[in-house]
């Protein structure tokens, strides 16, 4: 008989943070402003999250990101916590999660808590336990730091509505980019349930932002919005399909972010989904493309014209190289939407260009001081003291930007 002693807090923390590391989000920004100057509660948020540390994977540590439990009745092939995995299991008591959060917070290690969980018994039971933890933090301990709660698809909308009262951010993972992939790798997860869940959160937020006729504000509901996560590279979906899915999610549910998580080796993997080197560069390009959709007025079809993103150069540069008929752009006259398409110009540079050219002419050096990356922008712009000449259309322009081909190595 297999006798195991119950793990202590240190061991539980090891197991349940190890299991949580595949959640990409660690954001703690964009919530309502709060503080504890009244001397009663603990914590504050001022809109900007803080990265309190960085692990050697380059990721920010902003929140205590843990699972309530890694026991799970689902069998999702990509997940370390699936029922058929032999990883060691543990479960925090609600008090343990509360204590860890408060004690870490008091020492300025974290901005707050990101609580997720494997599914035990049923989505409703799991969600109810998670809500109890965040309610305890808020109501018993008057905790005013940041809380991100990963909600469980299929749980009662009433529980989601309650979670929204305590959490700054709610999220529900779309997991994989297509319905077919979900059916193949996460058979218990239902895409329709996930979408319905996102819709409920959007409606909850809209209801909270409506003021009643008396002008009293509705109770707050997930003021930092909702986000989701999509695993990249576990299935064969191409980048165009991924970005179209993201665009739909942003448009349909008002998501703050779609996180892309390169499928990464897990302990005790399944034969159904062989381990690969995580496609980190692809993940990076997807984030860049996502940014272009949200802030630079690009559509998914423009960005991933050939199905997949160019791994060697960034998607904006790739678009410019494919569409050289639009360049060079006259920086003194071009409209905002065209300036936004210049490689090496960020939104801030564009705003500064627009502001300055109302007063005076612009020179090459001005752009340098405004923070433009002229190494990238040079072939695509004209200024009174700069003309790219034949550079814009030169055949080797791409080669100037693309790195030397090399074996991509993990280490």
């Amino acid at each position: 008989m297999n006798v195991m002693s119950a793990p202590n807090l240190q061991e539980k923390l090891a197991i349940l943070s190890d299991a949580a590391r595949y959640d990409a989000s660690c954001a703690s920004s964009g919530t309502s402003r709060r503080d504890s100057r009244d001397g009663k509660g603990l914590g504050s948020t001022d809109g900007n999250g803080i990265c309190h540390s960085f692990t050697p994977d380059g990721r920010c540590v902003s929140l205590l990101k843990i699972l309530m439990t890694n026991f799970c009745i689902f069998d999702c092939a990509y997940c370390v916590n699936r029922v058929s995995s032999n990883v060691q299991r543990a479960r925090f008591t609600p008090e343990e999660v509360v204590t860890l959060t408060l004690e870490f917070y008091r020492r300025n290690y974290i901005e707050g808590l990101f609580l997720s969980s494997g599914i035990i018994r049923s989505p409703d039971d799991t969600m109810r336990d998670m809500v109890r933890i965040v309610r305890t933090l808020r109501e018993e301990h008057d905790f005013r730091g940041y809380i991100h709660l990963k909600t469980i698809p299929g749980a009662d909308p009433a529980l989601v509505a309650e979670a929204g009262l305590y959490a700054d951010r709610l999220s529900v993972n779309i997991e994989l980019p297509t319905e077919q992939s979900l059916a193949d790798f996460a058979p218990e997860k239902k895409p329709a349930e996930i979408r319905k869940h996102m819709a409920d959160i959007r409606l909850g937020r809209e209801a909270a932002s409506d003021r009643s006729l008396q002008g009293t504000a509705a109770p707050r509901f997930a003021p930092a919005g909702q986000s989701t996560q999509m695993i990249v590279g576990a299935d064969a979906t191409n980048d165009a399909t991924i970005l179209q899915q993201s665009a739909r999610l942003y448009g349909s549910y008002g998501l703050k972010r779609v996180y892309y998580s390169a499928f990464s080796p897990i302990p005790d993997s399944t034969a159904k989904l062989p381990l690969v080197t995580p496609p980190l560069l692809r993940e990076h390009r997807l984030y860049q493309a996502d940014w272009l959709m949200r802030f630079y007025e690009f559509s998914p079809d423009e960005i991933a014209q050939d199905g997949n993103l160019d791994l060697q150069i960034d998607p904006k540069l790739a678009w410019a190289l494919r569409n050289r008929q639009h360049f060079p752009v006259d920086v003194q006259r071009a409209p905002r939407e065209m300036l936004l398409r210049v490689p090496g110009f960020g939104t801030r540079t564009v705003d500064r260009v627009l502001q300055t050219r109302r007063h005076r002419g612009l020179r090459y050096d001005d752009l340098l001081r405004m923070g433009a990356s002229l190494k990238k922008a040079r072939p695509f712009i004209t200024l009174p003291d700069w003309s790219p000449g034949a550079l814009t259309d030169s055949a080797d322009l791409r080669a100037r930007f693309a790195p030397e081909p090399e074996q991509l190595s993990l280490f």
């Binding site: 807090l9 540390s53 380059g58 029922v83 008091r106 349930e193 448009g251 381990l275 502001q355």
Partner: protein
């Protein structure tokens, strides 16, 4: 030789003191090249003269607000020239009113760089201070202390952040330049100190455990970590002690994961799989024919199901005499799972009330049950369903008609007309007339309420709304006749 005025600014309250002194110098018309500045007596100055600065003069000096914000940050920079550089720009502002609007000015660019450096250092201070508990854990106010070495003089401007965040405990942050102490809600500053000896704190072990385990060995990106957490901060961050080991073992751990053969599922996995599926909250909205909702949600007769949130079934009493059919759910209907709840639905409700039709007695539905849209930016834009989609969904509409068996159907717009009568053509000519529909039930034709919302001209809108009211009144009268017969 003329003595050069020198301003010695205090170590605490530097920002306000600089502002006052700069105002005074400016109102005395002292040019930038004729004055030197320092923070505290110890800071290096180029000229060590001791002429006191002029007394502040009363009088309005107007300074652009964004300069005030810039100066409020730059004063904390460690560059001894910062005050002089600020004053030089302030001097120029007297005559160059558009200066602050020039993002490319050289003097301003230098100040903005300092501002960024201070901002970054402030941010790092707020992020990297690590408190240790120094008092009794059960005391009414717990006590914590930290040692930190900022790159600039950022403790004073950072202190309010800690006061807002950690108001229910006493804390102390010591830096080589200054010490901030927060006791019973009051912040005070003292001269800088040597690094204090802080007692061990058990929470630090838990923190290191967390740090080790949240790290993913398969995605090592040391450069990114170093860019955000430069080595100069490491000595005061306990978790960095774990980094060498994490890096040294990462490759081995990943290889071990890849090489491990898949294992057999644990004994309990089979038992769990054999259990009945846990109960799930049904997706059905509070419509009255939720039986159809689940079937409609599962429908894949056309591709629209893949991108919509859910099917939106008809809603209303199953014995309704009147059934009104719209085109398809919109953005709000798609989210809520109920028909006619968006802007067009609200307008429709109003007009129903005007014409004396009780919505709660009407069965309301759509020709197509899933929302069809395209994405523009971050919005969903309604797209009319095509013939194939209308025809695929006709089967569901027929189910609803057979269930409810209304006396009269009202087709709202061309798509509903197409589904109910087989033709979408010339709806404006056919409006107000009655044609034959499914199961021989008469179909009264009119426009869709969203047509009214799209009219930009308020006069045309009012005219069309009135026509729509007349149509619905006519439909109600027609129904009354049918009921009487």
């Amino acid at each position: 030789m003329n003595l050069m005025p020198h301003v010695t600014l205090p170590k605490v309250g530097t920002a306000e003191a600089w502002r006052e002194a700069a105002r005074a110098c400016l109102s005395a018309r002292i040019p930038p090249e004729a004055i030197t500045w320092s923070r505290g007596p110890g800071e290096a100055v180029l000229w060590a003269e001791d002429e006191p600065p002029p007394a502040p003069k009363v009088g309005a000096i107007r300074v652009p607000e964004n300069f005030v914000h810039l100066a409020a940050q730059v004063v904390w920079h460690k560059d001894p020239e910062r005050f002089a550089r600020l004053y030089a720009v302030l001097w120029r502002l007297r005559t160059e009113s558009g200066l602050m609007q020039d993002p490319a000015d050289k003097d301003l660019t230098a100040l903005r760089q300092m501002e960024r450096a201070v901002h970054r250092d402030l941010h790092k201070l707020k992020a990297f201070v690590r408190f240790r508990e120094i008092g009794d854990r059960t005391a009414p106010r717990r006590r914590f202390a930290a040692w930190f070495e900022p790159a600039h003089f950022t403790l004073e401007p950072a202190a309010p952040f800690f006061a807002r965040r950690f108001a229910d405990m006493d804390w102390l942050i010591a830096t080589p330049d200054l010490v901030a102490r927060f006791e019973d809600g009051v912040t005070t500053f003292e001269e800088g100190a040597e690094k204090p000896d802080l007692p061990d704190d058990a929470a630090e072990d838990l923190w290191l455990t967390y740090f080790r385990n949240i790290f993913n060995p398969a995605r090592v990106k040391t450069a990114r970590m170093l860019a955000e957490m430069p080595k100069r901060y490491w000595k005061n961050l306990p978790e960095t002690a774990a980094i060498p080991d994490l890096l040294a073992n990462a490759e081995t751990r990943v290889r071990a994961m890849a090489e491990a053969a898949p294992t057999r599922a644990p004994f309990y996995a089979k038992a769990i799989a054999a259990r009945p599926a846990p109960p799930r909250t049904p997706l059905a909205a509070p419509g009255l024919i939720s039986a159809l909702k689940e079937e409609e949600d599962a429908c894949t007769r056309c591709p629209l199901h893949a991108h919509a949130t859910q099917a939106v079934p008809g809603e209303g009493p199953l014995d309704a005499a009147l059934m009104m059919v719209g085109e398809q759910p919109g953005d709000q209907e798609d989210l809520a799972g109920r028909p006619f709840v968006g802007p067009a639905g609200q307008l429709f409700d109003q007009i129903l009330r005007d014409t004396g039709i009780d919505r709660s007695k009407v069965f309301l539905t759509n020709a197509v049950k899933h929302f069809k849209y395209t994405i523009k930016g971050v919005r969903r834009i309604h797209q009319s369903p095509n013939g194939g989609e209308i025809s695929a969904c006709k089967w569901w509409l027929q189910q609803e008609v057979s269930l409810v068996r209304p006396k009269l159907l009202v087709a709202l717009g061309a798509s509903a007309a197409e589904s109910l009568t087989g033709s979408r053509d010339g709806i404006l000519k056919r409006r107000g007339t009655v044609e034959s529909g499914p199961d021989g039930i008469p179909v009264f034709l009119t426009v869709h309420p969203s047509f009214l919302l799209r009219l930009p001209d308020p006069v045309a809108k009012e005219l069309e709304t009135e026509k729509f009211r007349q149509d619905l009144t006519a439909a109600r009268e027609h129904l009354d006749k049918l009921m009487a017969a």
